[in-house]
Structures are given as structure tokens and as C-alpha cells.
Symmetry: none
Subunit: 197 residues, 2 copies
DNA sequence: CAAGGATTTTTCCAATAGGAAAAAATGTGT
DNA sequence: ACACATTTTTTCCTATTGGAAAAATCCTTG
């Protein structure tokens, strides 16, 4: 016995979205049924929130409607000694310089760490040389500690980050940081080798 | 008798992702069960691809894991799309609470990241319960953003860290953080799975 | 407005999901 | 190695889903 609830049923929303999706395409139930391999009745019920589709069917349906599964929801839219540890005191870092940045590796004498944390300084209004995108395997995480930083990711619009903001990306994609404010910026970068490292 | 199919079952992928998501948080099945309201067995089966969850359950599960539903799907295949990136704005984090800390996972809807960055707050002079050392595989990196923090590493003398200081250690060793100052402390923690993860 | 085709909703039943509890496996400390 | 606690997997059973076909609704046209 299906209750007549107009409470914000989770599936009701989904159903509406589904129907919308179908009608946007001007398709009928049977058309979608054919494309997806589901039964007409199933789709009908799903659209009205009578039933709650299983992952399998959702998956099929997505293919049938030619949308990414996510579209349905977008609702809201290591010789590191085991057991060891190390402390890095502010200011006691080992300095390194590259063309683009000045940074200090935090635990230089531990090797095979799963992560490589670095503190970096970006001089205010440093020239950004677009020829020098940095690329390397693995993933990278950056937090802005002070100042404002613009991150250039190859093929994407620049991202402006303020203190407290962070970004996570695939290091294999060309990237570049630059201070964006009047002051020097201070960043923390943590690199990790990719899954297959 | 479950067939031993290693065929690219659509749900198998999903299941793996699910398990990953749960383990990233260090949660047990029953923990997720409680948070999501689903039965333990259901989650277990879903993770192993034995069953195909319905939309309703998926929805609940997403809430329980504190991820956007879309996060389950975005990566139809791989995790952390090669070449992708994500930005976390200060204050736009997803809150999580444990017995000892309040922290916000920074990129909750990307899974299989090589690193798991979190921002945490430690209430001033919170009682430290030494019975509750935290232990999990992998390595951990902590930076103090604000305040003063004492890190207790099992079997070692407590380490006092001030803003800008950081510590890197093996997460398998019992560890515990506590704010040590008058003010609340703010920390950034990055976890990485160990070599054999 | 009646007839006929197209589309959607219902009905009925087999297939599958989901939960409670038992069983197995996996970890702890002693 | 042992018992003990914790976590995961199985088992067993009920509730729900999903499909085929029948019934109802909605066009369109004469």
C-alpha cells in the first residue's frame, strides 16, 4: 500500500528529474524502454516515484537516455621506518629553489615517505613564465597559508585561492603557481605518487 | 553459490568504490550502518556487488557517508579522473565528528585520492582520553595552522607544536591530538595509505 | 463525439533487494 | 597458542522491484 505522502520523498524528486530528462528529448516511455532495455512499466513507475530503481537499472537507464549517471543526481547540485615520526619546526626547513618557486622540503631526511610536504613562498607579483608548466606523476594538494595565489592548470581557467583555500589535482597536468597579491604568499604543498608508484 | 565472475560487472565497480569510500574514513560496516540507517548486511552485500542497491538506499548511504550522491558515480571507471582537479574554499567543508576531534574532509566527493586532506578544529583544553588512541594504516602529516597543539604518539613523549610546525608519522602507531593553548587550535591533516594500499 | 492508435498506468507474479540473526573470519591482548 | 572482542560474511525470510500483458487515459481525425 503506497502511502500518499507528498513529503519530500527522495525518489519523487528523482522521478521528476527523470521524466524531465525524457521529455526534454521528446521521447516516449516505450522509446526509452527500447533504448535502455528496461520495461515500460518500470520506467513509468520510476518516474512517478512508485518504485526505487536499483543501481543496475539506473545504470541501464543512464545509457538509454545517453546521460552520465551523475546527471541523475547532480541535485545540489615508503623506507620510512614503520612506527617512526618526525617533527619539522617552523623556520627549520631546508631551502630549495626552482625557477618558479622557493620552497622548503619539510622532512628531507626521511625517504620513501608516502607524501612529500613542502612549504613554499611565492614572491609578490613574480613574473609567471607560461613556458614552464610543471608536470610530474602523482597527485598534489595545495593550501594557501597566507596571501593570495593563482593556480594555473593547463587547459583550464586560472584558479584564485585565498588563505585557507585549497586545491587538489593531478600533477601530470601542467601546473604553475603565482602570488597574486601585494604581499608574498605562503603555501603548503603535499605531493603523493600516483596509485601505481 | 556466488558465481566467480570477474567480468566487469557494473555493480562490482560500484561496490569497490563504496568500500573505498568507507575505508577512507576508517569506518566499519556497522558504523556506516548506523550513520545511514541501513543494515550491515546490506552494505556488505553492496560492497561486494552481491546486490544492486535501490535509489532509496543509495540516497541514505550517501548521507551516511557524507558524500554527494553524484560522488558515487562521477568516475565511471577510475577514481580521481586523471587530469582533474578540485578546489575547496575555506568554510565550504563537510563536517565530520569523532570522539576526539571535529574535522572537515576537504574533497569528500573525490575518492581514491592518493591523499586525504582534512581541516580540523581542536577545542581549547579539551579533555584527552588516552584510552582512545587512533590507529590506522598509512602515514599522516599534520600542520598546525593556528594555536598550539600537543600530539601524543604512543610510547613517545608528547610533542608540542605551534603554528607553522608540522609532524609526519606512521598512522599505525596510536596517536592523538589535543589543543594545548587558551584558544582553539586549527590543524590541517593529510593522510595517505601506506605503500601496500 | 466516436473510433482508432499511441501513450501511460495497473495488475499480477517471478526475481531480487534488504533486514535480523547466526556463522565465519579477522584482530586484540594475554 | 589461546580465549575474547570486533568486523565481515552467510543464511533465511519478508518486502520490494521489475517485467509482460491487460486496462485506462490521452490524443488525433473524420
Amino acid at each position: 500500500m503506497t502511502e500518499v505522502t507528498d513529503a519530500p520523498n527522495p525518489r519523487a524528486d528523482f522521478g521528476r528529474r527523470l521524466r524531465q530528462l525524457r521529455r526534454d528529448r521528446g521521447w516516449t516511455l516505450s522509446e526509452v524502454a527500447e533504448r535502455s532495455g528496461l520495461a515500460i512499466s518500470t520506467i513509468s513507475k520510476a518516474e512517478r516515484g512508485v518504485i526505487s530503481l536499483t543501481y543496475d537499472r539506473l545504470s541501464q537507464l543512464a545509457r538509454g537516455l545517453e546521460v552520465d549517471l551523475a546527471a541523475f543526481f547532480n541535485a545540489e547540485g615508503q623506507s620510512f621506518e614503520p612506527g617512526s615520526f618526525a617533527v619539522a619546526r617552523k623556520g627549520e626547513f631546508k631551502r630549495q629553489e626552482t625557477v618558479n618557486y622557493v620552497y622548503e622540503m619539510l622532512f628531507p631526511d626521511m625517504w620513501n615517505k608516502a607524501m612529500t610536504p613542502m612549504m613554499g613562498s611565492l614572491k609578490a607579483r613574480e613574473l609567471v613564465d607560461f613556458e614552464d608548466f610543471v608536470r610530474h606523476p602523482g597527485q598534489e594538494f595545495l593550501v594557501v597559508m597566507e596571501g593570495v595565489v593563482t593556480v594555473f592548470v593547463e587547459g583550464r581557467a586560472p584558479v584564485r585561492l585565498e588563505a585557507g583555500d585549497s586545491i587538489y589535482f593531478d600533477s601530470a597536468v601542467g601546473h604553475l603557481y603565482a602570488s597574486d597579491g601585494e604581499r608574498d604568499a605562503r603555501i603548503l604543498v603535499v605531493c603523493a605518487p600516483g596509485p601505481g608508484a
